[in-house]
Subunit: 161 residues, 2 copies
DNA sequence: CAAAAAAAAGACTTCTCAGTCCTTTAATAA
DNA sequence: TTATTAAAGGACTGAGAAGTCTTTTTTTTG
């Protein structure tokens, strides 16, 4: 469905969004540990995201990754395409290069609508939207690994971890 | 979306269904050529399908692959799972092993419904259904490669090729 | 300025999927 | 019963994704 790389990317961006701002950045190690992603592999992914201007980075002590306000407006699809290449979702959808609405294969009929609406969702939903959704569900992105739900009573997100 | 292997598998089963019966079997070479699938790779896939009792095979002269009447009742998902392993579609959907309705990630909300209906479609639609669909569209499965539509005026399917 | 901290860069390994080829087994037919 | 035909089985290769490690660059701060 989604490559592991783009799953990592999506989760990381959401985690960084939850846990950072221009004055409180998060490092690769922190993200890797929280989301249980191989650290050095994650570093590469974050670099690609930073090059694509989907997240920000700064070097040196106190450095790390963070989002600025515009970055919350990127659609989720941008993150996927940034790490997996453009059209990665579109081209892997059917497999038949000549399968189309004019020459539909039976699979086309079932998969087509699914892929289209998935694509539309991912293009509409922004990082900010997704974050909002998490908040409404009282879920932190890094909780999804263990399944234990942190109480949202702790006010300062910087205190987590 | 679907692995290339399961795409090969689906198309092959439909092709075999269209072009064979217990007394007129088709060989790997024939399928491979018609569907433009690497022959030796296809052989492996067909073997897995045969072991999974989704298609039949017989050795020796006049041998090859074919479907018997029960085989038309298998849902398409069975073919996919037979070659890609069980739950291949379910588990690749989100990537998060603990993502569930109780602990939904934001992607879950957007992907979930589509994936569920896709999964349901693939579980409902049988090989026979898909074949019916093709017939209604006046399409042969091996036409989907080139896009040129064969006229369905030729009555005996054995005559094709 | 020097030391430390963190990302950036790049070389390298590992694993899985896809694809190829060769040998063996089983079934048919002459 | 022997030759032929086709699947079954297994060894091997290649490409790309995923993962690891080391060195370099940049930035901060004492």
């Amino acid at each position: 469905m989604l490559s592991r790389t783009s799953q990592y990317a999506l989760r990381s961006v959401l985690f960084i969004a939850e846990n950072s701002h221009a004055r409180r950045k998060v490092g690769v190690g922190e993200v890797a540990k929280a989301l249980e992603i191989p650290k050095y592999y994650l570093a590469k992914i974050l670099r690609r995201l930073a090059v694509g201007k989907l997240i920000r980075s700064s070097k040196g002590p106190g450095g790390g990754y963070y989002l600025n306000s515009e970055d919350f407006d990127h659609p989720l699809i941008a993150i996927i395409e940034s790490v997996d290449g453009p059209d990665s979702l579109k081209k892997c959808a059917l497999g038949l290069n000549t399968c189309s609405s004019e020459h539909p294969c039976p699979i086309h009929f079932y998969i087509g609508p699914f892929r289209d609406s998935l694509l539309q969702s991912l293009s509409e939903i922004t990082v900010g939207d997704a974050l909002e959704q998490l908040k409404q569900e009282h879920v932190f992105i890094d909780n999804l690994l263990t399944g234990d739900e942190k109480k949202k009573s702790n006010s300062d997100p910087d205190e987590r971890n």
